[in-house]
Amino acid sequence: MRITRSMARSMVGAAIMLLLAVTAMAEGKRWVSSEGTTLKSEASATSENVADLNVGTELTVVESGGRWLKVRTAGGKEGWVYAGRVSETPPTAEVAGDDGLFGGSMQKSQINTAKADSARSIRGLSPEATKYAKDRGTPEVYKKALDTVLARKVSAKELKAFLKEGKIGEYAQVNGGGK
């Protein structure tokens, strides 16, 4: 079969399209969706920290290595991130956007992450719930018990040590997690 110039042109076009599609697939987008995510220099939790990543940060996947992904930030930093800490869609917002009662978009979530951070300072029973308890005649023993529950907190450092001890997630051995 003789290949005409126009046929050749279409084939080159198709090849370019295919190449672009493959590149787009390989360079997939991911979003940081877990608190305390760190960009690492290698695919290992014990490797050096490159940067701390906030929830909602957009990443471009450069290379996939099983449970670890090599990624690039918008600022051009490259490193490895544990696959469990990112998602294929942006994390949902803290408060609603324009689309209804409980929906929302990531742009809103940026603001609300800060909002929720301030909520972290909430410790113990709120004055409003205390008033509710008083009006309802809730026995003191339950109020005190809930106050203790609400005052309990886990620091990021404690959480990392806990996961490490249990060989969980990014702290797992190569062939799996803690048994």
């Binding site: 408060v95 689309d99 909002k115 909520a119 509710y132 609400l150 959480l159 997630g169």
Partner: protein
């Protein structure tokens, strides 16, 4: 909704501009007593009533419900290492949930009914009876992650027919929980109690929380099939149980349907069996059901 209203206003303005002077019509909207101004004010009210309950309000609702929950199911067990341990497991999976940016607290309650429940805002309770039937940390993580799924989906808030009351409240204050408003607040809390503790949430919300549990345990690094193992344990208990009141199987959809859906979902995680179950550490915190 908002874009629809804007479009409607724009359409009205365009039509008005075509039939009369455009600026004359705009002026009508700015006169407080005009019919047009009232339309606009109605539209604004409609928009503000669809505002979401803010986090502080959600938290107050949750704390009030938690006070009711403790009275019904019992106070937390007096075992600080266990309570701390449950908080570590819970926070590990919460950090990989769909709502990772709010604070979560967990407590094991001194209750002999196999149950767990979450109140809005992130306070989660699990009964000692339910913990006692679990065999490893991944199973505890699955139960807590299921409840986190309800908090993330705001399921309790969506379940009350008095949700309108909370939306109208805006940011809750001590004044909103006192006086006349207080009566409405207490009644809305009563409504949510009935859903959470007696009737149970909508079955689709339960399925959603099951799938969310599998996803966040997997993302944390726990074996996601743990959720199935927990439900299978409950299935065995359910078969031999005479009193099912208030348990996870009385307030949730049929266990076989939940298990079937999860087994289908498990195909998404081909490497699941290589993930952490952490039996030894869990057994150090083992408690009896009574």
């Amino acid at each position: 909704m908002r874009s629809f209203i804007y479009a409607l206003i724009a359409l009205t303005l365009t039509a008005a501009a075509a039939s009369a002077g455009f600026f004359d019509e705009v002026q009508k909207f700015t006169k407080p007593d005009s019919k047009e101004s009232q339309y606009l004010s109605g539209a604004t009210q409609l928009l503000s009533s669809s505002k979401e309950v803010d986090y502080k309000t959600e938290r107050v609702i949750g704390e009030s419900l938690a006070l009711e929950g403790l009275q019904r199911f019992g106070n937390p067990v007096k075992n600080e290492p266990l309570q701390q341990y449950v908080n570590l497991v819970g926070n590990a999976v919460a950090g990989n949930s769909k709502r990772a940016t709010i604070p979560y607290q967990f407590a094991v309650l001194d209750s002999q009914v196999q149950n767990a429940f979450a109140v809005p805002g992130g306070v989660i309770f699990v009964s000692r009876a339910l913990v006692s039937i679990l065999e490893d940390e991944s199973e505890l993580a699955a139960v807590l992650a299921h409840e986190i799924g309800h908090v993330a989906g705001k399921h309790a808030l969506k379940s009350t027919r008095r949700a309108q009351f909370f939306q109208g409240v805006g940011t809750i204050t001590a004044a909103s929980v006192g006086g006349d408003k207080g009566k409405k607040f207490a009644s809305a809390i009563g409504d949510m109690q009935a859903v959470l503790f007696d009737k149970g949430l909508d079955k689709d919300m339960e399925y959603e929380a099951d799938l969310a549990a599998m996803e966040s345990t997997y993302r944390t690094g726990y074996d996601p099939s743990a959720m199935i193992r927990v439900l299978q344990k409950l299935q065995r208990i359910e078969a031999s149980s005479t009193n099912k009141k208030g348990s996870w199987f009385s307030t949730h959809p049929p266990l076989d349907e939940r298990i079937a859906r999860l087994q289908n979902q498990l195909q998404k995680y081909p490497d699941y069996s290589s993930l952490a179950v952490v039996r030894e550490r869990f057994s150090k915190h083992a408690i009896t059901g009574k």
